[in-house]
């Protein structure tokens, strides 16, 4: 005899089950974001107050992570010269999916005060996908915290899909990288 205690499980397709698991995963992921700080520029000075007791990032469940392979969020704090952009691209490609990028300051948006420099790129989202920007030169710590909360909202609403865009439009990103950098992996005498 069939039990009346439990209603029968509806037959779900594989896509629907996957989506439900992703929703569960996203819930846990956005509540415990491990961030990798790529402190390239002056906006990095906003991170110590955000991380320590003044604003206490830990209450959002965010914490620093030492290696790219275990991190979820890449923070690009400030301007990127050609040399640091090359290292940033390796770092981004080493991170495991899903991965999110937060760009700090006006330098990552349009070049900021370095818009006419020979060594500094202007637009970060030409080279790697950026999920959330924090505007300002430099941004307030409040704005930084707000940017992180925005990122959590974007993860919840499935709009933080930069890593998917990087996979789908990889040829376009690679072409931009080659156009500006020439060679992405440069061998120098101090490494390799």
């Amino acid at each position: 005899m069939e039990s009346t205690k439990f209603s029968p499980a509806t037959r779900l397709t594989k896509e629907e089950i996957d989506r439900k698991w992703w929703e569960i995963g996203d819930y846990f992921r956005r509540s415990s974001l491990w961030m990798l700080m790529y402190c390239t520029g002056c906006c990095a000075i906003e991170l110590p107050p955000a991380m320590t007791s003044a604003y206490d990032m830990e209450r959002l469940g965010m914490g620093p992570m030492a290696t790219p392979r275990q991190a979820d969020v890449l923070l690009v704090t400030g301007y990127l010269s050609l040399k640091t952009l090359r290292r940033l691209i390796y770092t981004y490609e080493q991170m495991s999916e899903p991965k999110y990028v937060v760009g700090f300051g006006s330098c990552t948006i349009n070049g900021g005060i370095y818009h006419d420099s020979h060594a500094v790129i202007n637009q970060l989202d030409q080279y790697i996908p950026v999920d959330s920007y924090v505007a300002g030169c430099m941004p307030n710590t409040e704005a930084v915290m707000n940017g992180f909360i925005d990122l959590m909202g974007l993860i919840q609403t499935k709009k933080a899909d930069g890593w998917k865009r990087y996979r789908d439009n990889n040829a376009w990103y690679k072409k931009n990288q080659i156009d500006s950098l020439g060679v992405v992996r440069v061998k120098d005498e101090f490494h390799d």
Partner: protein, 191 residues
């Protein structure tokens, strides 16, 4: 005798000094001839200026010359000495000072990279140090146009709306100046 006087007498006794400038009691600058530089540096090294703090160049494009600046430091007599010398801008060449200060190896590479000055005697002076795969003229020369390079290489963000001056209001700079003048007026000018 102060330390600055000591080093001035030391150099003026045996070399031609084109120009001397005492910046403060810890800094002094000498403009010397190109061929004297190596001798002056070795004399100063034996006198205790054992540290080459920096080597850089200045591009005087109107006079068609580069100026090389060697900065030395002595830990017994605390004076920074700047030895300045002018060299030709076309095919700029200066003999390396590696026999005297071996640490100049990297400074000379940097100067070669950013100004294109050659340093025969330094085996590595043409290797890249900071810029990677640079494909243009040395970027710190005054006739290099960084904006043109940036426009040619890096994508710019395009804005459909012009946010520069909303509602024809006076710009922020004008406002700021006005406020500053008003403050000065209340204070009664500078005292």
């Amino acid at each position: 005798m102060t330390n600055v006087n000591y080093v001035s007498e030391l150099l003026e006794r045996s070399f031609t000094i084109n120009n001397k400038e005492v910046i403060d009691k810890h800094q002094v600058s000498f403009e010397v001839e190109k061929q004297d530089v190596h001798q002056i540096l070795s004399v100063l090294k034996t006198e205790g200026w054992i540290q080459l703090s920096y080597l850089s160049a200045i591009d005087w494009i109107d006079e068609n010359e580069f100026e090389l600046v060697y900065i030395l430091m002595n830990w017994e007599r605390p004076v920074h000495i700047q030895i300045r010398t002018r060299i030709e801008r076309e095919n700029a060449t200066m003999n390396s000072i590696m026999p005297i200060f071996e640490g100049c190896k990297y400074y000379e590479r940097e100067v070669h990279e950013f100004f294109g000055i050659k340093f025969p005697g330094n085996p590595d002076h043409e290797k890249q140090l900071i810029l990677e795969n640079w494909d243009d003229m040395p970027p710190m020369r005054k006739d290099f146009d960084p904006r043109a390079y940036s426009d040619a290489h890096f994508a710019k963000r395009e804005y459909t709306t012009d946010f520069s001056n909303l509602n024809n209001e006076p710009s922020k700079q004008a406002k700021r100046n006005e406020r500053k003048n008003r403050t000065l007026r209340f204070k009664g000018g500078k005292k």
